[in-house]
């Protein structure tokens, strides 16, 4: 996994365990708009030329094609804006921490991270008929102290993500304890 992905600020000895996006159903409402708009535009071209060939002269057809082409450009740009908003919203689980990158539109980007040493508890929640069928929900990571909880919103297979974070947190704590023990033994010697 780590060879495929690389993010800015990644440490030299840090490996990426998993990259998590929101469930695809989350952007399906936007994509349905894109799909139907495209279907309508393509369909109207065929309808005009097939069912009303005499009603449309060459000038009107040129103008109609120009309007259609303009709408296709808008649809294409809109699709990628939706895609950017979805794909660049990502949670990266590494061997050391969880990095949350939130992309809101084109001009707002927020990055936060949580070290496994500060993880206190992890819970997963699937709420509703469609989330149950599609298997997506929220994972909440409770942090130590008064810090804000880390929330993975509408992610696929939330229970597996919860288990993964618990396992990595446990491994991290065992690692810290082992290094501390070794340092104590080293001092005694």
């Amino acid at each position: 996994m780590s060879n495929q992905y690389r993010f800015k600020g990644q440490h030299e000895d840090e490996d990426i365990v998993r990259v998590i996006h929101r469930h695809w159903f989350n952007i399906s409402s936007h994509l349905i708009i894109v799909f139907f708009a495209s279907f309508f535009l393509v369909g109207s071209i065929f309808a005009m030329t097939t069912f009303f060939p005499d009603a449309v002269d060459a000038n009107a057809l040129s103008f109609f094609l120009f309007v259609e082409n303009t709408f296709f450009i808008f649809i294409w740009l809109f699709s990628f804006l939706v895609w950017i908003d979805y794909y660049f919203d990502v949670w990266i689980v590494t061997t050391e921490r969880i990095v949350n990158i939130e992309q809101k539109g084109l001009f707002v980007r927020r990055i936060s991270e949580l070290n496994f040493a500060r993880v206190q508890d992890v819970s997963a929640e699937v709420n509703g008929f469609i989330p149950t069928i599609m298997d997506y929900g929220d994972v909440t990571v409770q942090t130590a102290g008064e810090e804000e909880n880390f929330i993975f919103r509408q992610v696929s297979d939330p229970y597996a993500i919860k288990d993964l974070i618990m396992k990595l947190s446990r491994n991290n704590n065992e690692d810290i304890f082992r290094r501390f023990s070794e340092s104590l033994v080293g001092r005694k010697a």
Binding site: Q4, R6, N59, N69, I73, L77, F80, L81, V90, L106
Partner: protein, 74 residues
Amino acid sequence: MKAVFGLLYAVLFFGYIVTALFIFYHIVRYSINRVAMIFGASLFIIVLGILLVSNAVIFFSLPIDAFIPKNTWF
């Protein structure tokens, strides 16, 4: 008359280019997967290029004078 429509079209075209540049910049700058970045950026630029060129060709072939009534003051 053609000049006015040409100017309006130029503004619209400039808007397309600026939006496309922002999208392209985001794809290239913030992708964490290199393969997906190359694929996404290439697909976006190629399709948009085709659409923009065809849009410009169709616009400049439009008989603008035929759409405006003869007694229009501008």
